[in-house]
């Protein structure tokens, strides 16, 4: 049975729908009301507060911490400055992705990793030759993600920190209503947003302070359903949905490399050895089999298809994550859409997909399966660069 996060006493009072799911062993709210719509619009027009505490968190510190992380991560962590956070992935020896997450440099020899899956034992195994200490801080730290155009104003209301100077993917120590926290300008919505990291014991104080400080800015508690739509608009992939950690795969073909899931840009290839380097070098030279792309359904065709059945277009109520085959013009399957959502803001039906590299060029027209009245049909879907939604305020 799942357990509550440090914020559970508050979120459970607000969650009138009782819509929860199990995220890494924790009760997490899917949507506070029976429909996530208000939460979605709050993320894009006001602010939403999301409990993301179930993220796995590891503290890595010691003399060799930077060298160790550079060894295990695809990115050269030696270059990461204090007060900065970076998004990346890590691989097995064959260059297949184990997980994606972030590394933050809290000070010269102190780092924090976030991960989607338990990673402690893997990190420990790799650390033998290094002078580092690794601690699993998942249960000790509560994490709140405050996202949306008003998020900065709200945190300014609650704390004393200069957030105007905090750049995208920067982090800072701060006091919120007198409580010591770390604030990072990160998130999973592709919007202006922050994540607040607080010791478990102080979690509720911080929650209350943010909710009170956000009231006049129309803050809403937001669950995972609304966040899932925004992460698709932002083109962010998800472990276990859009790709699979190599150590969970029964068969080789399920595994992916960073280049295949659109994270090639996080790989610093030419440097001291790191795990998976040789395989990734070979792939870089020979080309990748798969590519991760955005797809936008051809709306007029989608509408016509439903019209054939006398129906208005049926849109998914929220983000979906059951894979759908994707075909080329000739009807040959060339990949699969792994998750998608109707973007009410963009007025587009979106999907994230994995397709054969030859079909990854933006503008390529593929065919995606659509089930209408129990019939499997296809409509064109256009390969599109992600993010689909990228407001200037995200980085401004």
């Amino acid at each position: 049975m799942p357990i509550g996060t440090p914020f559970h006493p508050r979120t459970s009072e607000l969650c009138t729908s009782l819509f929860y799911k199990d995220w890494a062993g924790y009760y997490t709210v899917c949507s506070y009301d029976t429909c996530h719509e208000r939460e979605y619009y709050a993320l894009r027009n006001a602010a939403g507060l999301i409990d993301v505490s179930p993220l796995f968190k590891y503290e890595v510190y010691g003399k060799d911490a930077a060298a160790f992380l550079s060894r295990v991560m695809v990115k050269d962590i030696n270059k990461l400055k204090v007060g900065r956070c970076t998004y990346l992935c890590w691989c097995d020896d064959h260059g297949k992705v184990l997980d994606d997450g972030t590394v933050s440099r809290l000070d010269d020899t102190y780092f924090r990793i976030t991960a989607a899956e338990p990673t402690f034992s893997w990190l420990m195994r790799q650390s033998r030759r290094f002078d580092v200490t690794i601690e699993d801080s998942t249960d000790k730290i509560g994490t709140l993600s405050l996202q949306g155009p008003n998020s900065r104003d709200i945190l300014k209301n609650v704390g004393d920190t200069d957030l105007d100077g905090l750049r995208y993917f920067g982090l800072t120590n701060a006091k919120l209503d007198g409580v010591d926290v770390i604030i990072s300008r990160t998130g999973y919505t592709g919007d202006l947003g922050y994540e607040v990291w607080v010791e478990r014991e102080q979690a509720l104080n911080v929650y209350d302070a943010i909710m009170a400080g956000g009231r006049d800015h129309r803050i809403q508690p937001v669950g995972l359903d609304a966040m899932d739509v925004t992460r698709i608009e932002a083109g962010y992939i998800m472990n276990g949905v859009d790709y699979f950690s190599s150590n969970t795969c029964l068969i080789e073909s399920r595994k992916s490399t960073p280049y295949e899931i659109g994270l090639g840009w996080t790989v610093d290839l030419d440097r001291d050895p790191f795990i998976g380097q040789d395989a990734l070098k070979a792939e870089k030279a020979n080309g990748s089999v798969w590519a991760s792309v955005g797809l936008v359904y051809d709306w007029p065709a989608f509408e016509r298809l439903f019209d054939e059945f006398g129906l208005p277009p049926q849109l998914p109520g929220g983000a979906w994550r059951s894979p759908i085959p994707v075909y080329n013009k000739k009807g040959l399957q060339v990949g699969q859409a792994t998750s998608g959502a109707w973007s009410a803001i963009l007025k587009d039906n979106l999907a994230l997909a994995t397709v054969k590299s030859a079909y990854a060029k933006p503008g390529t027209i593929l065919q995606i399966e659509v089930t209408v009245e129990f019939e499997r049909r296809r409509v064109p879907a256009i390969v599109t660069k992600t993010p689909f939604f990228d407001p200037p305020r995200k980085k401004a």
């Binding site: 029976t34 208000r38 027009n45 006001a46 009231r215 800015h217 709306w299 509408e303 006398g310 007025k347």
Partner: protein, 536 residues
Amino acid sequence: MKFSNKPDHPRYDAVVVGGGHNGLTCAAYLAKAGKSVLVLEKRPVVGGSAVSEEVFPGFTYTVCSYVVSLFRPHIVRDLELVRHGLEIIPLEASFSPLPNGDSLCRWGDAHRTRREIARFSAKDAEVYPEFSLAMSQLARFTKSIIDNPAPNPASLNPAEFVQALRSSQGLREANADQRFIYMKLLTMSAADFLDQWFESDVLKAPMSVSGIIGTFLGVRSPGTAYVLLHHYMGEIDGAMRAWGFAKGGTGGISTAIARSAQSYGAEIVTEAHVSNVIIKSGKATGVALENGDEIRADTVISGLDPRRTYLGLVGKEHLDSELTTQLGHYKFRGSSGKVNLAVDRLPEFSSRPGDGPHLYGDVAIAPSIQYLEKAYDQAKYGDFSERPYINMVIPTLVDPTMAPPGKHVISCFVQYAPYDIKEGASNWPQRREAFGDAVVDTLEEYIPGIKETILHRQVLTPWDLEQEFGLTEGNIFHGELSLEQLLYLRPAAGWAKYKTPVRSLWMCASGTHPGGGIMGASGELAARAILRKRAA
């Protein structure tokens, strides 16, 4: 958004008079087709009645129109309006507070709605979804009517016949039961029609008002049932959905269309008052401005209402008497006003205190059918309703940028406020504040203490709507949306297809088919007709 106040060129392929949302839509389509287009707007801002203005510092009012439902989704795509900033946020609920401290709220959540209605009628609670289904089916059948020009049934032209078939395609798919319902909708009053389905007044009253908005009719007047259908025709996100707010107020829609038009090369000039269309040998050749400037154009398109277009821009001397007679019978009869409030805190309803999702939709002050009929009775004899029907929305809940943090703007659509008050329409300015007081006094009965929270109040009477926004007699739809003024009769028999008897002069606004509301359809259909004729 800033605009120039002088055209760059002396001559254009097309000049659009009036920068309302339809004029802008028409201009955008023409510009996208490669025409050189100039839009001339009298006011300093574009949008006509779909306009947002900071009337009181820090507070943006959605000054006239306030919600959107029927804006055509294909126009959003064709004109890339999302890229130009359009965002529609759906209304979550319909809240109807009652004077006795009770209330009814209808939600997106069907079971919650059922439970709410069941408190007043167990029967109605279950009929409600049946009614919605029946109306949605009919609305879908009639969708082709609003997406195509209105065919002329009196014409022997085969093209007209084909068009008639196309427009009625949906209805031909309807089964017998659905056609019976349709006939009833065409002939009955909103209240009578609802009586056939429901027993609870508390439910029927807020539902019936959609039949009277913008018309000088009561909920018991025959012909009002048809407009109920419009409430089920709205499309947000492809599905037939309810109503929505535009981010930034309804001006946000106009701004997006204006940006789109500009991106295709259209030029928009504000504070340009057109005095007349220049007509030579029965053909429009341009427009003359009040300042004496003249602009030449191959095509002139009027975004003004029919009376302003024909009797203002054109002039009787260019029209035959048959048309002027028809225009004389065309009814405006504005029946509504608008009160916009800036408040220093969220209104607290005695029937449902506190902040909550019930405030995220529209609030209808329409406690009973009798209340609505009484309100109409006063209007019939030349008074504004002392206790009017009010449709209130609080856009700042979903778009907090429209007011400073913690403060709100409230938009109140108010009916009845007859244009022809017994003191005479031009005496409305003397009655304006009394009308505003009646609205606030009414609100105070449901929201005790609201008076003290008001920081600023803007009252727009039908007279103000006419003087400031060019809405003849204050009619928000450029002429009543009554059956005898719809389809091939809008604005006049024989002239329902955007064309006018003056060659090269066209019409593109709400006074043409399908008209009414922020739809963009008239603007788009006009542009398509013009392009088909290769007139521009």
